[in-house]
């Protein structure tokens, strides 16, 4: 085949090579065969894509096996699988984002969506808006406030504890028994299912303050359990890459150890730490299960995390979908849920973006 395509001398180096156009030729064959097969079973674009991909792989790999031998065919087969898995993954993930955007933009653009709570909104208003076509009332203000407050409190608790722990691990323990135990426990904590963290906070406060204690603060404690290990892990990693020369330089100047840590080590690693903390916030801001068990279900604005139930964006989405405000007309609730989902995703994306920017812009000039 090669000899025909290229009228050059056959050597041991050019033996058994597929012609350049082989992938394209196989693709055409694949598309045709795919169309034929999918027409047989009832044509749709999705089925065509699937059958075309399978047919392409078979044709291309078989051709390669016939001309180039088994090794090359296996290599091409692996390439097909790798690219195929990439395509498989892109579809659902873009579908998720598309669904949120499609459903969310309408909800988000409804006047008052960000500025009003669900206080006083009941099935009556929702039925009315469906029947008369008036705008959907009710919004996420209370949930927005709740999410921010709960996340703020868990950050206030987790960051000092997590940062100090990582300082202990890196600067003081140096692989001692206690350090090893802490590292192990942090690992175990990373694996705690989020609902178990919620159960823990609920059980803790039920034991101390009596059953049914559900406030924003309980939720913050639950999120803290999830957040601390993330903060410890990322800060530890960042402190470890601070070059030892910096510490020794400070010691050589007669600076005390605690000042060295606060003035030299932590500032050097601060961008990495900040970016790790931001990612930790992004992780807990979308947690639903723990808040569901600990903060109850509120429709009113509540600014006090220490008393009464509190709403949050994730639980808001959950309840709007699972228990629509008007069971007979769930559409307004769904619209609000998607709007809240869009806001939540935007939050997470912004936090991720900030984390990346912080890590890049304020990266220490020393080190790597």
């Amino acid at each position: 085949m090669t000899a025909i395509a290229t009228p050059r001398r056959r050597t041991s180096l050019t033996r058994n090579r597929l012609p350049r156009i082989a992938p394209w030729a196989s693709l055409v064959v694949g598309l045709v065969v795919g169309a034929a097969v999918s027409t047989l079973v009832g044509f749709n674009v999705f089925g065509w894509g699937v059958f075309a991909a399978i047919a392409f792989t078979i044709v291309y790999v078989a051709w390669s096996a016939a001309v180039e031998g088994g090794r090359k065919a296996r290599d091409k087969f692996a390439t097909c699988l790798v690219i195929g898995s990439f395509i498989i993954v892109v579809l659902p993930l873009f579908s998720v984002i598309w669904t949120v955007l499609e459903g969310g933009i309408k909800g988000l653009l409804t006047p008052g969506f960000l500025g009003t709570s669900m206080n006083g909104v009941s099935g009556i208003q929702d039925n009315q808006s469906v029947n008369t076509g008036s705008r959907v009332v009710g919004g996420i203000y209370h949930a927005l406030i709740g999410t921010l407050l709960i996340t703020l409190w868990s950050t206030i608790i987790s960051v000092p504890v997590g940062l100090l722990t990582s300082i202990y691990l890196v600067e003081y323990s140096r692989g001692g028994r206690l350090g090893q135990a802490i590292t192990l426990f942090v690992d175990v904590m990373t694996g705690i299912p989020s609902i178990v963290a919620g159960l823990f906070a609920a059980a803790l406060f039920a034991t101390i303050f009596g059953p049914g204690t559900q406030t924003g603060f309980v939720a913050a404690v639950a999120l803290t359990v999830l957040m601390i290990p993330v903060v410890v892990r990322s800060s530890e990693e960042m402190l470890r890459i601070v070059p030892n020369e910096l510490r020794e330089a400070a010691y050589a100047l007669g600076v005390r150890k605690w000042r060295t840590i606060l003035k030299v080590v932590v500032p050097t690693a601060i961008s990495g730490i900040a970016s790790g903390v931001t990612l930790a916030i992004a992780r807990v801001i979308g947690e639903t299960a723990p808040i569901l068990l600990t903060a109850g279900f509120a429709t009113k604005i509540n600014l006090n995390v220490f008393s009464n139930w509190m709403a949050s964006l994730p639980t808001y989405i959950y309840f709007q979908i699972l228990n629509p405000t008007s069971p007979s007309n769930p559409d307004p609730s769904l619209q609000r849920a998607w709007g809240a989902a869009l806001v939540l995703i935007i939050f997470v994306m912004i936090l991720n973006l900030i984390a990346r920017l912080v890590a890049r812009i304020f990266a220490p000039k020393t080190g790597r």
Partner: protein, 337 residues
Amino acid sequence: MTKAADETAHASPKGPDVTSTETKTSEHSGGARKLSSREGAAGDKVFSGTALSAGILILVVLVAVAAFLVLQAFPAFVAPQSQIADGKGFWAYIVPLIVGTVIAAVISLVVATPISLGVALFISHYAPRRLAQILGYIIDLLAAIPSVIFGAWGISFLAPALVPGYAWLASSLGWIPIFGGPASATGKTLLTVSIVLAVMVIPIITSVCREIFLQTPKLHEEAALALGATRWEMIRMAVLPFARPGIISAVMLGLGRALGETMAVALVLSSGPLIASLIQSGNQTIAADIALNFPEASGLSLNQLIAAGLVLFVFTLAVNIVARWIISRHKEFSGAN
């Protein structure tokens, strides 16, 4: 000399047992300090004490998690079993939930692991560099999407989309028990849940694996290529063996996530008793059962839910330990040295 002060010698990156010489250094510098002033010496003690107590606090928290769970779960184990779960007893309540949880998690991993490895390889070794960077960023973002959103997508888009597929499975493969009909008309089945879970854990496994694949030493990749390996052979010779422990921990991370996932299941699954068919309504997972019943629970039924949480906790812990054991078993031939 207190323990904390003993550990105040300067930090070295490795080697726990260099204390003897370093203690001398710290004593020496401490002595030199004394000549001028003791200023700041108290600060050292306070600061190291604070750091130490933060570390201990973490130990306390984890012990507290276990203690409170056990404490609150205890009544469910000792109460007369006729009072629990409509007289069935605790174990009759929990075993179907465990089975449902494991089935969903295992299916999701069986789907997610090969795809994730493929995508991670695509990003690390196949895609052009520009595209790979963008993809890596997108995957990281997707890993951060809250699970409740995946749940909402599952119930509103995926479940209805899968209904025709389930009908086809029931009619042509119905003789296999797991595809036994009649298929659910809403698509809110355990198989849908498993697929949603797979979509959720794919970004997680992918982003961990990609990191590890990228860390494969260039030396070993070039060694393989210089022997005349194709790209796939190079990956099998150099990349996969190097990455094996990392792949295992990534998969275990995904498994932990799938086992403990609550919202996606609670939203998508139309739950019921344990059944063999994956395409009918039915089955339930531990986490989702807790979430659905907790708001109304009180008294003994609350204890029962907390006991279920304890079981889930122990389960994920066991997964963690098994993963560590597998990784440590491969130490000798790992790339560590």
